[in-house]
Amino acid sequence: MRNPYRSQNIAFFFLLLATLLIVVPVGLIVVVIIQKGLPAISWQFLTDIPRQGMRAGGIFPAIVGTAYLVTGAIVFALPIGLLAAIYLSEYSKDNILNRLIKLSIVNLAGVPSVVYGLFGLALFVIFFKFGASILSGSLTLGIMILPIIITTSREALESVPYSFREVSLSLGASKWQTIRHIVLPNAIPGILTGTILGLGRAAGETAPILFTVAAFYLPQLPGSVFDQAMALPYHLYVISTQVPNVDEKIRYGTALVLLTLVLFMNLVAIIIRYKFRKRKKW
């Protein structure tokens, strides 16, 4: 007789194999980066400017630059993305045009980041004459993460049960009151998660900032949004490929800082979502 469990065991084996194929390389990357980068981490490394042609000193300007860029991107992308998501999920009629808009937003999330970089160069740097600046870089990164924010916010809004809206409307509340008092408060965890995932993406990308903001070497901190700035991902690229004889320790140290930053943001997203899920009342 055929063993009915055998095909199940074979399936389990392949599922486990697929999972390991994903988990193991990721784990190895993290381990290698920590192993090689940790010796470089010191208070001086985090707070000093790069010295001796970036072969010594710290990465403070790059950390600050990335912080500015990410903040700028979110200040620009969150309000616009959220409003667009509210329009798309609550107000837009279900017709071909709106379906096309929704489809293209989803597709925009998959556009290579270098394309956003070129777009930012053409629009912000050249056309609006912002030059290579924190403003141009932030706007470019903002546009890049807009699709992520819109898509996740839309999903969060649409996951609020339709019956809540009906109840609110049946009590004589207006549509906007319903959105403001019932739909939005219950969609916040999803919206925050999307926002922070967008943040992580913005912090880690090199291509969009390459033409729009990133400075090869700029030992002082930026003074205004019209200044260029260093940024962690680009700095990493520079010291890994453009500058000869940079100590491996410094390169991995920079990578470790960037990785920690992104992981930390994702961790915050997870914690927020967990807290709100526990509070969820239906």
């Binding site: 809540f164 109840v167 609110s168 409307l169 049946s170 009590l171 509340a173 008092h181 019932i182 219950n186």
Partner: protein, 249 residues
């Protein structure tokens, strides 16, 4: 008797599907009008017409007219209409707020700011919904902690808090046990003095127990409407008789 609603030759379509076919009926002040009929008979569509909840469906279209207090409902401000015509849904649907805030929600949305006035309205509404004694010490708790029957009475109180003239009940006891059902029915009968009630129900016996008049719908048509005891003793149409006796539906 004064008519709250005058419905003339009302037809409703959702896309190409016709849900109501030329229904004409009056809803009188301070009566309980029960609406019975098998599923897909159009009785819920009829009910949701009265507070224009059907409007939310993008495929909705209608013919004929519905007048509320002698005014075409399509020309009344929809938020105002829904304030005056409250609704209790089939399933208990508390909002994800505290017990107090559930009842206060409608009042707040209509612009009330005075905390003391809101508290007074909430207390009054909960008393009218026969829930006050059970929840007065736990008003700040989530409404989801209440039992199903309590939740449904909370929904009734929430509807009462905005001081409507008409209350629409859409199979309000379909998810409740007999004891809770009795409490909700009891509340309805007492509310009749101050409100006009339209009750859609799948439970024929419930219609017989609480309704002053009963309307029987079948496939989107109003077959018969009369005093409840007449409908249940000497119905004119054979289909009404068959349905009440449980021969179909």
């Amino acid at each position: 008797m004064v008519a709250k609603f005058e419905i003339k030759d009302l037809s409703v379509w959702f896309g190409r599907t016709q849900a109501l076919k030329g229904v004409s009926v009056d809803v009188r002040a301070n009566e309980i009008l029960s609406v019975i009929g098998p599923s897909n008979s159009g009785k819920t569509t009829f009910l949701r017409m009265l507070n224009r909840l059907n409007d939310l469906n993008p495929d909705f279209s209608m013919g004929g007219s519905v007048e509320f207090a002698r005014e075409d409902i399509m020309s009344i401000d929809v938020e105002l209409l829904r304030r005056k015509v409250g609704m209790v849904f089939a399933l208990p649907l508390p909002l994800p707020l505290s017990i107090f805030e559930n009842v206060a929600y409608g009042v707040r949305m209509h612009g009330a700011r005075d905390g003391r006035k809101i508290s007074r309205l909430v207390e009054e509404a909960l008393k009218q919904g026969y829930l006050w004694d059970e929840v007065k010490d736990r008003l700040e708790e989530s409404a989801f902690k209440l039992s199903g029957g309590q939740q449904q009475r909370l929904c009734i109180a929430r509807t009462l808090a905005v001081e409507p003239e008409v209350i629409l009940f859409d199979e309000p006891c379909s998810g409740l046990d007999p004891v809770s059902t009795a409490k909700v029915e009891d509340a309805m009968v007492r509310l009749k003095e101050r409100y006009t009630i339209v009750l859609v129900t799948n439970n024929v016996k419930q219609a017989a127990r609480v309704g002053d008049r009963t309307a029987f719908f079948l496939s989107g048509e109003l077959i018969e409407i009369d005093k409840t005891d007449r409908i249940f003793t000497v119905p004119i149409d054979k289909r009404t008789d068959d349905y009440i006796r449980g021969k179909f539906g």
